[in-house]
Amino acid sequence: MPLRAALPLVFQAAAIAIALLLPAFVGANSYALFVATQLGIYVIAAIGLNLLAGYAGQVSLGHAAFVAIGAYSVALLTVDHHWSFWAAAALGMVLAAGLGMLAVLPAFRLNTWYFAFITLAFALVFEKMIVEWRWLTKGFAGVVGVPPPSAFGFEFGPRPLYFTVVLVTVIAFILVRNVVHSRFGCAFVAVRDVEPAALAVGASPQLAKLTAFVISAALAGIAGAFFAVQKTVVTPDDFTADFSIFFLLTVVLGGLGTLWGPIIGALVFFLIPELLAGLQSWRMLIYGGLLLGLMLFAPHGLFGALRQGWRRFAPQAATPVLAAERAEHPPIAGLPLQVSGLRKRFGGVLALDAVDFHAPAGSCCAIVGPNGSGKTTLLNLASGYYVPDAGSVKIGRVEMLGSSAPRIATRGVGRTFQTPRLVADLSALDNVMLGAYTRERANLLSIALRLPSARAEAHRLREEALGFLHFVGVADRAETEAGEIPHGQQRLVEIARAMMGGARLILLDEPAAGLSMSELERLERLIARICELGATIVIVEHHLDLVANIASHVTVLDRGTVLAAGKPAEVFKDERVMRAYMGERALKTGAPA
């Protein structure tokens, strides 16, 4: 356990020590220092690309263009307009993010491969434009004589430049690490793997992709700025399609979606070409072969392979979770749900026809009915996953008809799904914390910088999430990856996530399906407790026993219309209900439950 925790720290310290000590052993104008500086520049861009492609799942095939924007900004502004490097670099970052955003904006609503294509096209068009706009960029000849950065009248030689690049690399690594570990990083992964989960916690997929892209392009821009001053010459030939592929390969080699991936990838990459100097003309062929082989045999790259080996060598010990048992929970002010005249048609099938449904604040209402009677459709309409053809959905007193799922979630509506939608790669605790996505006040900047307020909030939310895991009874799984948790407990984690979001109206879609007897009893007690706290609960369920025990009001749907509504005992005695649900014989032998 101590070794396990200490190892990453040892590696980080060693990496920084080597980076800082290197200049002491090589000459200021040595090739080694030049290469080391270049390595740092590439790592900065690769860290950004990894956030975008690895975490948010958006593969950029045109990263060279964003680096080029940074490089040209610095080259042109410092050479032609005598700006200071720092101002030019800042503008380069803004331009890389801004121009890139204009280009990729349409792609965020579409399948991810559109994004790959559009970035590829953007890089190609940008490369052509550099040549075309000779008056601005000096065409093929490029911009020469880029001056080194200076500060306080002191001009940076190779060594200070190297230290600056190392510093920026470390900062980029830390900022991205902070983002990855925050609600934003969790939302990126949710958008990549389970979009409905992102919607359920109120995270807009488009906004998440855009955030990842902007950070990524800005890092490419700053890398480009250093690229310009290091090489002192900037030409269109520096930013070909090959260069974009190179970045992608760096990240894939090190490990997509792992924090250390870009660094390991870039290191290995720099050693290989030096070793295979004679094979320069085979380079792109080797790139292609490596990309293919890695994706097939090591999708998490070198870091993934190392991690797997390490886990086998030192299997994870169950970490005791230290959190105050919180049996007590502050009361919840339930939100009423009022649905009227709701209608939805799928092709030739009328799924819902003029359905009225009312759940008063703080009540527990059930919707039952045979399969295909429109129960789940009703939940999906109420939570914004479908748009109804007609009718009204009022949550609180506000009409929410036609609002997007994230907006409805933000209003205080939490939901679970028939098959639990957890982000398999995140721990149960992270999944629950993701529930607070719209509640967390700290913005991206304060999270990236780990400002005390953001840290305090994150800590508080973490405690709160642990409290909810205790509340639903799966605190022992807090650190387990959600994909490894048994089905029945995944449901409980999902309920904890909904509560974490501050849900005042909770929609449960067949929570009892597939649960064992003992799990069912736990679920029943849990729902009753949540209801006691004051939250409004709408439960779609087949399990009539459960419904009879917890619901104060039952609505029976049959073929898209309301067949009966009222107290469970009365409704279940209703002849039509028994016929729809159980058939004729149930009528003869008496009521269930």
Partner: protein
């Protein structure tokens, strides 16, 4: 009625299956004889659909034997199982909604060589059973009503003259008059020596037309026997009302 002697058409022994880490079916055994209707009942989440999906090859069995028509079909891919004569009409019909009714029926015979005469005979048989499909043959399948969609899904399967047809919730969302039509179509199919494995939540109706029945609860088969015995037995009530009745009693 039962074929004298001979092995059953479908025989499942000690089947275990599930999704990922989740074990849904535990030690399930079942047999279906040629030309018989077997109703499979139990509450939602009891594992009925998973059982059908495992039999048709959509899910992999973790362990156990599945023998169909003398052939071991465990581990075969779905299209090979279909070719062997075991057809599965999935829950929710799952038609090709953008294609026409006629095209949907044609797709039912994909990969099958039919002579012109044979083809006409099968089409006639389908249209005799479901005349409405002939009237609406040029409409997109997505434009049909729920009941018509269910008929179309059965018609697709009929193009192959299956030996065993598995129907998952055919009455789903249908008006009572259409349920009657679908159930009477099932009886017609039995008369044509097609065995039927019927998953149906209108338990009463299913047991009326079935020859035999099996009851599932929490991924286990808790009872099986003649349909009329099951209909009056305790296991059924236990499975539906959630009495904590001991599983396993009433094993016939």
């Amino acid at each position: 009625m039962k074929a004298p002697g001979g092995p059953p058409l479908l025989s499942v022994r000690n089947l275990d299956a599930g999704y990922g880490h989740v074990r849904v079916l535990q030690n399930v055994s079942l047999s279906v004889d040629a030309g018989r209707i077997v109703a499979l009942v139990g509450r939602n989440g009891a594992g009925k659909s998973t059982l059908l999906r495992t039999l048709s090859g959509l899910n992999r069995a973790a362990s156990g034997e599945i023998t169909f028509d003398g052939q071991n079909i465990a581990g075969l891919r779905p299209h090979a199982i279909v070719a062997a004569g075991l057809l599965h009409v999935a829950e929710g019909r799952r038609l090709f909604r953008r294609q026409s009714v006629a095209d949907n029926i044609e797709l039912g015979r994909y990969g099958l060589r039919l002579g012109a005469e044979q083809h006409r005979q099968r089409m006639d048989r389908i249209h005799e059973l479901f005349p409405v499909l002939q009237e609406k043959k040029d409409l997109p399948a997505g434009g049909l009503s729920g009941g018509q969609q269910q008929m179309l899904a059965i018609a697709q399967a009929m193009m192959r003259e299956p030996k065993l047809l598995m129907l998952d919730e055919p009455s789903l969302g249908l008006a009572p008059v259409l349920v009657d039509q679908v159930l009477s179509a099932i009886l017609t199919l039995r008369a044509q020596r097609v065995a039927i494995l019927l998953v149906e939540q209108m338990v009463e109706r299913a047991l009326e037309i079935a020859d035999e029945a099996c009851v599932m609860q929490n991924g286990r088969m808790i009872a099986s026997g003649p349909a009329n015995e099951i209909a009056t037995g305790d296991a059924l009530r236990a499975a539906f009302m959630g009495d904590h009745g001991a599983p396993g009693h009433l094993q016939s």
